[in-house]
Amino acid sequence: MIMKRRDFLKTSAGAGMAAGAALSLGGYEKLWGVAPTPEKYDVVAVMGGNPDAMFDLGIQELGGMGAFVKKGQKVLLKPNIGWDVIPDLAANTNPLLVRRIIEHCLKAGAREVYVFDHTCDNWVNTYRNSGIERAAKAAGAKVVPGNTENYYQQIEIPGGVRLKRTKVHQLLLETDVWINVPILKDHNSTRMTSCLKNTMGLVWDRGWWHANDLHQCIADYALFEKKPVLNVIDCFNVMVKHGPKGVSKEDVVQMKSQILTTDWVAGDAAAARMLGIEPEKIDYIPMAHKAGLGNMKLDSLNIRRIKM
């Protein structure tokens, strides 16, 4: 959809007013007992700002972090911290974004926020060089290792076609809610990595997925009962080739975008379009759609598009 200038102005003004109102109201909403009830969007897409600013705006459109994280809850944030590269190479979720989400969680009253990933490269270096460890700690989260098998516990996946059981990180089971924060990237084999594929960092034996129909395993995992309350897809810097690890900064295109959604299949479908790929072409997306795990038909969704 092409946004007209008038729409854009309206949108911007609207967003600005909403943000302003939220700021000025502060804690008064509760006093009046009437929290502003925004329209229910399936997907919120933001473009044109820095990762943290885009998140501020996007989460506002979804009713604020309080809609997803309740007071006193333990929250798991699962960014993509797969590869031992610097943030500019966009192989890992943007640390600014991670930091801002944690701040929102804590502001919403989260008791504790945890961050971890089962990295592909050496985990100590990856946590450090991705900039995520520092950002998360600065925001007040606990950064937890996921490097050995004893952090993982067996779960059952009823209805899984290929993946019927797997081992997931204990934090996923111990926390009250989890937020999926993937970065959109090209992927050499599945063509794209985003929401659903990011779950491979929750499990111990990724190799098994690779050896047993990768697409089906990715879709199967989404059946597991503990689903993310929110997906935030980092499309600020996007690796468009040589993914998921990348070779040089020439692999990266700055898209300055972000997609927020509670429907991860829809999120993946929208993300695929950002890479210029039709969602049907990425096998695990239609698989998950058919299993009723989300809606890949973007036309039928209520999408809020914001340009900053």
Partner: protein
Amino acid sequence: MTSPFLRTFRIVFSAIVLVCFLIVFIDLRYKIPSEYINALIYLQFVPSVIKFYDLRIMAAGGFVIVLLLTLLTGRTYCSFLCPLGIGQDLFSRIGGRLRKKFRRFGYKRPHTIIRYSLLAVTLVVTLVWGVYLLTLLDPYSIFGRFTTYFARPVVILINNFLANILGKFDNYSLHHINIKGYQLLSYSIPAAFFILVGTLSLMKGRLYCNMICPVGTLLGLLSKISFLRVRFEESKCTRCGRCAIVCKSSCIDFLRLDIDNSRCVECFNCITTCPDKALSFGVVRIGKKEHKTDESKRRLIAGALLGIAGIGSLAKAQNNNVPTPKKGTTVREEKTYPVAPPGAGSIEEFNKHCTACSLCISVCPNQVLQPALKQYGLVNMMQPVMNFHKSFCTFNCTRCTEICPTYALKPLELDAKKLTQIGKVIFIKDNCIVKTEKTACGACSEACPTKAVYMVPYEGNLVIPETNESICIGCGHCEYACPTTPYKAIYVDGNAVHVAAERPEIREAEISAPEEFPF
């Protein structure tokens, strides 16, 4: 000097040295800077000699300082700087505690034939053939293996235990560490030496240093003429014999007021013990008679000749064990060569210089370096080899090349390391999931840092790996990531001689940022 502080100083100094070595070898967080490690190891005798032989620059000449120090002060190296020596003192002390009532060192005759033969054989083998015997006998390397093979795993187990407990309290300041590799067979030699050195030091003080250690024997030759020595003051001595009882080297013949300076390690126990201050550390008075002519020199020569006679044939026989290429790679991953660590230059050169001190194995953050069994041939057992079934080489790490005490691994700048091809990727299509299962995989290409492994269209929607050897650096991440069993579908075959890989071609992205949301 008769001050009891000599001994106290020795104990404090050596304790600090030992702790520093233990920290370097057991550093579970890989935080000790390489410069610090190099400074600590600079004075280690054998590594320094090998490094000097290779570089021929005085900057690598820590051993010269040791030689001068020995000429000046006797075998202080053995008590102050040698971690194996210091470790033995610790053992010896424990031994003393265990059998307090029975333990009397007392004077013993030197094991002249054994020690000089061993020195001669070691020298000859090393000069004629290579470091193989030094690998076994260099005290620093022995110490390195003890810590890498025994102490480090124990500390890791303790760490994991604590990490478990802390984790229960939601504290993640410690984390679990997997112990990778370490096949039982590779423990055989260190275990045998541990029993040997451990028992000797528990029961007999410094007998290992004075009978077997070639460095001890060599420095002993020099310390015979050292400037400063422990000496008797004849007029003060009451022949009480206490000095001989506490002498770990069993080298004080108090009845003849004679100290065998070739065995004395300057521990100063005797000086502290002597109630009459009859023993002191100082300049030997001129005019005092030296040792009588001894058979030892003749024995030395005889031993050396004996050694040389045996060497040639031994060397020939062993040369057959150097890995030779096997023809025809099949579906089984068959490596023509093992993969030697970056900085090795070539397997041959590497094998010649490495004394298997295992420092690189200890400091490798990915634990991809593992002690070799027979990959390099049995004589090179325990030298580090890349094990890509257990782990892979981190792309932006040069740790092992920075700290190698013997220069078997030469320093590589990070940029150079990223272009150093230590092996080449080989893809076995018939093993590949994409072909056998007709499902997507790509684990290998995903992990490849240079995209020497990339995916090309296959049947239907599928893509299958293809390789570009010229930009492969042999890091082994593809082999590690490949999920097939028992044989991998992709693996790295070692380069006998490490070469420069080509730089990956860099092209601008074809996709540009969408100006509007494409949905």
